[in-house]
Symmetry: C2
Subunit: 190 residues, 2 copies
């Protein structure tokens, strides 16, 4: 018999997405977002939800674009910092010792130290409540050569992403053991 | 220097969300969804993206509600099967040996064997392209007592969720080691 816990925003796993934008004064900014994910295969799109009080919200409204940067385990301190500090008050790239490089195709910066990032053009904005959801069309994915697999795609075992345990744990985890092939092990049942 | 990979729908980690609905004939149905995530804190909401050709799409349009069930590592075969088979052709609960129980507050079934699930009422529907995004308000989270932490919330270390490596790996992973406290380790930088 399952117990009622109330209307909680808990799922597992949650991602740690580092959203890159420019402030109105041209200063590059990053923010950590766990309310987000891929939302369409064609056109390729990603959804991120952000509160209106943040600098990143204003930057996306202004510039109509953003990057989504995927950090590795080894960047967990920088990724957590990006979710604590406000880009209104401090230059987060500078304080975290990260390198901001301007995308060649959109007006937004990416984090050079992180293994890969998506360049996104704002497509849809939905005010849900406390959070506003921005859906961005993914124009390109750019990655370091050393995290690619033999098909030329980012390999989770080389990327070693950060998993956020949600506010019920408030802890970050690495990835663990392989537990099965997708679209394959389920065929046992069929 | 990062390499351009093209407009790919890759982020890490991706979740494995098992969406529960009823078919028009009353048969319970499940479907695996990795295009989704929490999208608002207040009201508490979750977004899932589904193709129009699926039975689950039709069921959500009809019933205006759904459950989101979180599987454990040990359910990886059943979870993968839920993403391969079509609920139009087979009773996926029955074939996978899973128990469908009707929610007491919405017209949708949940998976009794999985550690917890969300009961969701459809709030917003957005046709993005190949996928339609359904945003559901989370009305309640119900969980097995043995996956709760001392605060009474689902604990990722007890839930042991499945991480999908995206189509670039096409492999499922478990969670690994703890790598830091959220909203805490980043304070080193400040």
């Amino acid at each position: 018999m399952k117990k009622s816990i109330g209307a909680k925003t808990i799922i597992h796993p949650l991602p740690v997405l580092i959203v890159g934008t420019y402030n109105p004064n041209g200063q590059p900014n990053i923010m950590a977002v766990s309310w987000g994910g891929i939302c369409c295969s064609q056109p390729p799109c990603i959804a991120i939800s952000i509160r209106e009080v943040t600098q990143t919200y204003q930057n996306i409204v202004d510039k109509k674009c953003f990057t989504v940067n995927i950090p590795s385990e080894k960047h967990v301190v920088e990724a957590d910092y990006a979710g604590i500090a406000s880009g209104r008050d401090e230059n987060k790239f500078e304080k975290a010792g990260l390198t901001a490089i301007k995308s060649e195709i959109i007006d937004a910066p990416y984090v050079d130290e992180f293994p890969y990032f998506l360049e996104c053009k704002l497509m849809l904005t939905t005010n849900i409540g406390l959070h506003t959801q921005f859906i961005g069309e993914i124009l390109d994915l750019k990655a370091d050569g050393d995290v690619l697999n033999d098909k030329g795609k980012p390999d989770i075992k080389k990327v070693r992403p950060i998993i956020y345990g949600s506010f019920s744990n408030s802890t970050y985890f690495g990835i663990g053991e392989e537990i099965g092939e997708a679209f394959s092990i389920g065929k046992k049942i069929e």
